[in-house]
């Protein structure tokens, strides 16, 4: 009996696979910014696409987030079957170096969607060698999240417009005895994206620089950089829970939602999370405070899709990418995931992005003279290790194991060619 069933199953499988391979093409798609919600969202979009294109069968591969970039690198370097790969700001240069990505210029030239890409999305697409190796799917930039209800309890209604004001208000409301602090510190993971905000806005020359710092041009020994760092240290000592040294993303969100730290600097993907934990009415998102020179620095992050250079189904892969990158699908995707959509027109067409929590982000992108878009030298070989070094040094600084001058000298030396 059971033997018969097995034979039947095998026969069925064979029949089915023959049928499938005769008529349909399977596209292997690898995502890297995996989360259960986002994976479900992607399957949702894939189902729509498959319905429109019955001859395409999409196989979505979703490695756990912690090891996904490694997985992508390994799959690409060993030429494993892959037709669409998600590429991040952190990995794009490395993939190009290893000659694993298709130059999408011919596709871009034909693609109507390219015209409506926002400037920051266009910059993301062409970040390596000014060549489009990817179609961006989502943009991350930072803004200031404020628990207006908590601030009101302390009689504060004026929102901080400068970094100095942010630090002053944080220090003013801090009262450890009542477990009240000001700022949701970031002590673990991508710590430079927070300290550099404070330091960079004090460096006047940074307005004209390509990167926040790089081997070619760096500002660690600029008196302004030190001033900004001193302000940031002051924020820690006077307006942050001491435990902040060990805070990552989850702790930051927890501090904000619990009201312990009513100021938080985050990317827009925090919005759906905070909405679900706190509700949309108890907080506001406002543009980042500026520095003494009237500008603030925004480093942008992105994720996008590209085609491996060795894919056998490039045309089909492109068709899927251009479909999922359309104003409508990309708007839907980001509306439910959280980051900013890549088309300027989405902000006019999609109601969700007209909501008040997104105003600050639209405002920042519309005023590039004040909100200077800068990136990090992601192409530098010194970049990957920098995060760990920065994190450890910042902890040493805040725990009084290293002084500021020594640290800045050390950083300057690290970024010297």
């Amino acid at each position: 009996m059971s033997k018969r069933i097995i034979v039947m199953l095998i026969a069925l499988t064979l029949l089915f696979s023959v049928g499938v391979s005769a008529n349909t093409i399977t596209l292997n798609v690898l995502e890297v910014m995996t989360s259960p919600e986002r994976t479900a969202l992607l399957w949702d979009l894939i189902a729509k696409y498959e319905e429109l294109n019955p001859h395409i069968n999409i196989n979505l591969i979703s490695p756990p987030y912690e090891q996904s970039d490694q997985k992508a690198t390994l799959m690409l370097n060993t030429n494993q079957a892959l037709d669409v790969v998600e590429i991040r700001d952190y990995t794009v240069k490395q993939f190009v170096n290893n000659k694993k990505l298709t130059d999408l210029t011919p596709y871009f030239n034909e693609w109507a969607g390219a015209d409506t890409l926002s400037p920051v999305a266009m910059a993301s697409a062409t970040i390596v060698d000014e060549t489009p190796y990817l179609v961006p799917q989502a943009i991350f930039i930072k803004a200031l999240y404020v628990r207006t209800d908590i601030l009101a309890e302390h009689g504060i209604t004026k929102m901080p417009e400068t970094m100095e004001e942010l630090v002053e208000i944080s220090a003013a409301i801090t009262d450890p005895a009542k477990n009240q602090f000001g700022f949701a510190w970031r002590g673990r993971g991508a710590t430079m994206k927070f300290s550099d905000l404070f330091a960079a806005v004090y460096v006047k020359d940074l307005a004209d620089a390509e990167y926040i710092y790089s081997e070619d041009e760096k500002f660690f020994l600029d008196p302004g950089f030190k001033e900004g760092m001193e302000l940031y240290v002051k924020l820690y000592k006077e307006g942050t829970p001491p435990d902040g040294v060990n805070w990552g993303f989850n702790e930051q969100i927890n501090g904000f939602v619990s009201g312990t730290t009513p100021f938080l600097i985050q990317d827009p993907d925090a919005i759906p999370l905070i909405d679900s934990l706190l509700g949309p009415d108890k907080y506001e998102v406002i543009p980042l405070p500026v520095g003494p020179h009237g500008f603030t620095v925004i480093d942008y992050g992105f994720t996008g899709m590209g085609i491996p250079s060795y894919s056998n189904h490039k045309e089909e892969a492109w068709d899927f990418i251009q479909w999922i990158s359309s104003v409508e699908q990309n708007g839907y995707f980001n509306e439910h995931w959280g980051p900013l959509p890549v088309h300027s027109t989405t902000f006019e067409l999609n109601e969700h992005f007209q909501g008040r929590h997104y105003e600050a982000y639209s405002y920042e992108m519309a005023n590039p003279d004040v909100f200077l878009l800068k990136t990090y030298p992601l192409a530098s070989e010194k970049w990957p290790g920098w995060g760990m070094i920065h994190e450890t040094d910042m902890q040493s600084l805040l725990l009084n194991r290293m002084d500021l001058d020594t640290m800045l000298q050390k950083w300057d030396k690290y970024w010297t060619k």
């Binding site: 490694q70 290893n98 002590g187 060990n246 994190e391 450890t392 725990l399």
Partner: protein, 295 residues
Amino acid sequence: MRQRSGRYFFLIMIPALVLLALFIYYPIIEGTLIGFQRYTLFDMSNTPFIGFDNFRAIFSDINFSFAQILLNTLVWVAVSLLFQFVLGFVLALLMQKPFRGRGIYSSLVFYPWALSGFAIGLVWAWIFNGQFGLANDVLLRLGLASSPIGFLSDPRYAMISVIIANIWYGIPFFAIMLLAALQSVPSQLMEAGKIDGAGPVRRLFSITIPYIKPTIVSTLLLRTMWIMNFPDIIYAMTGGGPANSTNILAMQMINKILKFYDYGQGSAFGIVIMVLLFTYAVVFLRLTSDKEETV
């Protein structure tokens, strides 16, 4: 007949040997080679052999002092092992005698061993959270602390905190292994001891421990290796911080690969761990077997 069965055993071992060669020996050799190559994710098309450069780099790293990482590793292994063993032994002795609900009790006790280290790390990270954590809440309510303690953000407490999590995790292993060994101690021996007038403590040290010594030796050896290669809890709780205070060799190996994308230096750390553990195993086995002869 005996010869034939010898050949037969060799034959049936071949599949296992092939699997071992494929999944253990080959990766070890390959991984060792990478330790002598410039091998970064950044540029995988260019991976020349560079002699001992990776080792020189990790020994003289100004950002992550090798001496401190080594010292951290020693503390992490020694303290975790000592308490896991002692508490696990006590637990095994307690559970040796039958009592009502022993089955349920023992499965509850052994539960931590079934969890993933990373998940345990996440749970303990919240317990020891310096702002919202359970440990702080209890201490504050009992009046044992006047302000929240930064268990994971203060270098003075960080190592102790991760070790406590590790002890909690590792006790069941010793309890299981030692309980099994204890049950093999013949009751006649105990009876004889009793008749000769030996008290419980004397019986423990003169009968029980010598009898289960092989189990003790092998579990201690195994656990030393596992603890040294077990950065999961640290990875989830502190990532090696703050300011390097919980960074152990295995943690730094992972950081070199996941954060620095430097497989060469990561493998160099792996080789250092391998050499240390091998040396330890040889010394440990020699010491413990010498003692056996004098007994």
